[in-house]
Amino acid sequence: MLRARGLTKRYAGLLALDRVSFDLHPGEIVGYLGPNGSGKSTTVNLVVGLLEPTAGSISLDGIVASDDPIAYKRRIGYVPEEPSLYAHLTAFEYLTLVGRLRRLAQPTLEARIPALLQILQLHDSRYKSMTAFSKGMRQRVLIAAALLHNPDLLVLDEPFSGLDVNAGLLLRTLLRLLAHRGRMIFFSTHRFDMVEKLCSRVIVLSAGRVVMERRVADFDREGVGSLEETFARVTQQDDYEPLARRILDTISGG
């Protein structure tokens, strides 16, 4: 189980995350929603161990990230929001590099890399430098890299960004199957439809604080309105029609 308690992060005096706590159980897919700048990516960086919290702690099955960061990170697969990878490598070279760094045995790499490339429709481009890849192709490479070592916790930051319809459907189905097999999935996104279709629970963040945590199934049952309406209410979103009208006026004028 992933357990986050009182996670706080300050950047040079700026409070980015304020005492955020949540749990993630095996077999669960948790959606993490919030407006831009609410602290979603900071949370993701803390969960995967790329940042250290200013206060609070985070542990995975009893392994505290700050006590044994290497053992903690060994069990995580991560897909970042931006397709940040060494684009001068080919997909095959990148996965080989990641597999070797994860200390996977050679026969395992020989079996998994070509198979993942084939399934994710990257096989034909496997010897091309990723500089020529679209965002969706890079995203698929990152998904393959995150799955290569069969992690217990999968952390995904906007994983559907750039993916075409087929790849999106494949990823959705894959995440469900992974959850069925007891994997934990933490998934940060802007897309309500994906959260509604995929997640068992949703956490909403605003200005660095958790403003709502609820089971997705409860939205219809309790008559509180849809996820989108609730999100707009709890995060105090603006009315966008006046802004849209101003844009129209600007481009229509002299």
């Binding site: 290497i70 990170k73 590099l97």
Partner: protein, 562 residues
């Protein structure tokens, strides 16, 4: 006010010729500052050279007129070679922007612009760029050029001499620029799209490396008056000599027609290739730019087992380094440039010691032996920090997360060693391998002893220079041992003198008394081995150093701060 698209585009292309394509905004700014500094230094040097040459001509004034004229011929070779060098270097740096490329196609062809406007603007920008460097180089050398013409007036009409020099030197610079454009043009037309970046990076690095290596020869041109008088064989292979030949022919000297013909022929060839590439690209812009190229045949693709190779972390890092040095324009350019500069320094030293491997009368004198012992060690001393510096240049800091996510205590030593093997390979093994044939030529089988001891000294040097190296290459730009620049400079010069003196002494003893080699091997090898062991042990205790730029780090702008 409405701008004319052709003018806007020309300005855009002209500006982009100064953008090297791989530098950040800060890097471009600092490069501009460095270039301005270089121009200032060039003008200063030009004035200093006038002083030096005045003394030379004053001494020659007492002698016969022929000696005077011979000196002017060699000096003109130098005065033509310097602008050629500068123009070629500028065009080489701007290699990626010499022709309209895929980005130009995708962005500009979608705008209401004709193909003629795009190509015309690109060509205009290229002409302005080359013209700027040709004029700049000649202006910085103007005092010296004037002096040589003034001196030459003693043997002929100064106006005809000035005209001949102006035509020949302008043509020489044109040749240098067009040679680079032709190479880039052939690459654009012939290389498959998928490989264009790799080929282009390699071409740029080779150009840069060759230019740096030729610098010692350019500097020595004023001393080649005798070679010009004797019509030495190598003049046929030296482009500045061709254009001096053209200048002499324009002055009415019929003995230099071969050189002049070479100058005209070579200029016509590179001009045809450059214009041909432009014209071909103009008519086949879409096909040439967007065509993916023939995919490699399936048979040539590596088998999965071979492609993955060893699964060790050390092998993974080594492969990562090797691929990056092959494909990254920045890293390849820096490493080739620095190694070529070190090579140029060594070549200069060997030329000064009169080591001439192709000359039939070459014997191993005390001076040549000293130079041959000094050369690999001096090269290794300069190349090792150069390679270390190249591995410190970050590639993509945002992609570092994968190394941080996969860091393991047990494999940290391997991760560090993977990078250090490259430092040893390029910083020590390569210099030894480059000089070994020359040593063998002049010293015979003793080279085995020399190479063995050089290898051990090189190992010790690498271990000393990487004492505080706890990183994976290209993930962190912090420079170990960084400090106050004058202090570092004095330390570096002192270390160079001490190292080359100590290493030279050890090598001289090994050469003179081969029986001492086992003892020397122990004296040098044991400290190197101990340092290696210390580094491996420390790797388990010290975290790898990363310079991180996480994608979503919050930056407080403090716009209202007092």
């Amino acid at each position: 006010m409405r701008y004319r698209p052709a003018v806007v585009l020309t300005r855009h292309f002209f500006t982009s010729l100064f953008d090297l394509g791989f530098l950040s905004d800060e890097g471009v700014d600092s490069l501009k500052r460095a270039l301005l500094g270089i121009v200032a230094v060039a003008i200063g040097l030009g004035l200093l050279l006038v002083r030096v040459f005045m003394t030379k001509y004053a001494n020659l004034a007492a002698g016969p007129v022929e000696a005077f004229e011979r000196a002017v011929v060699a000096d003109h070779a130098f005065l033509m070679a310097l602008p050629m060098w500068m123009v070629a270097a500028a065009c080489g740096f701007a290699g990626q922007s010499l022709f309209p490329d895929e980005i130009d196609y995708r962005i500009l062809m979608a705008e209401p612009l004709s193909r003629r406007t795009i190509f015309g603007a690109k060509l205009g920008a290229l002409l302005l760029f080359c013209g700027l460097f040709v004029v700049g180089a000649h202006v910085s050398l103007l005092p010296l050029i004037t002096l040589t013409l003034f001196v030459a007036a003693k043997t002929g009409s100064p106006i005809s001499y000035a005209s001949a020099f102006a035509i020949s030197s302008a043509m020489a610079s044109l040749f240098a620029a067009l040679a680079i454009v032709a190479v880039q043009g052939l690459l654009v037309i012939l290389a498959p799209r998928a490989r264009l970046l790799t080929f282009s990076a390699a071409a740029r690095s080779i150009t840069f490396g060759v230019l740096v290596l030729t610098l010692p020869f350019v500097v020595r041109l004023p001393g080649t008056a005798q070679a010009f008088a004797a019509d030495a064989w190598w003049l046929q292979w030296a482009p500045p000599a061709w254009f001096v030949g053209l200048e002499r022919v324009l002055m009415g000297d019929a003995t230099r027609t071969t050189l002049a013909a070479e100058a005209i022929g070579a200029t016509l060839v590179v001009m045809t290739l450059s214009v041909g590439s432009y014209v071909l690209l103009y008519y086949r812009f879409d096909r040439v730019t967007l065509h993916p190229g023939n995919p490699r045949p399936v048979r040539s693709r590596p088998r999965v087992r071979r492609a993955i190779g060893s699964a060790s972390v050390r092998a993974a890092i080594q492969q990562f380094v090797s691929i990056t040095l092959r494909r990254s324009v920045l890293h390849q350019g820096v490493i080739v440039g620095l190694l070529a500069a070190a090579g140029g320094f060594m070549v200069n030293g060997l030329l000064a010691a009169n080591v001439r491997p192709l000359a039939s009368d070459t014997r191993a004198t005390a001076t040549t032996i000293s130079a041959l012992i000094w050369a690999p060690m001096a090269l290794a001393f300069l190349a090792t920090p150069a390679v270390r510096l190249t591995l410190s240049l970050p590639l993509d800091l945002r992609a570092n997360w994968i190394f941080r996510m996969t860091e393991e205590v047990a494999t940290r030593g391997d991760a560090v060693a993977g990078g250090l093997r490259t430092v040893f390979g390029l910083g020590v093994a390569l210099p030894i391998a480059v000089v070994a044939p020359l040593q063998w030529w002049l010293l015979g089988s003793s080279v085995v002893v020399l190479v063995t001891v050089e290898w051990l000294i090189g190992w010790l040097l690498v271990e000393l220079l990487t004492l505080e190296w706890h990183r994976i290459p290209f993930t962190c730009s912090y420079i170990p041992g960084k400090g106050f620049v004058p202090h570092v400079f004095v330390k570096a010069v002192g270390s160079y003198v001490l190292f080359t003196w100590l290493a030279g002494s050890v090598l001289r003893v090994s050469l003179a008394h081969p029986r001492t080699v086992p003892v020397i091997a122990l004296i040098v090898g044991i400290p190197a081995g101990l340092l290696c062991r210390r580094r491996t042990r420390n790797a388990r205790l010290v975290n790898l150093t990363f310079e991180d730029e996480l994608p979503m780090d919050v930056t407080a702008l403090r716009l209202n701060a007092d």
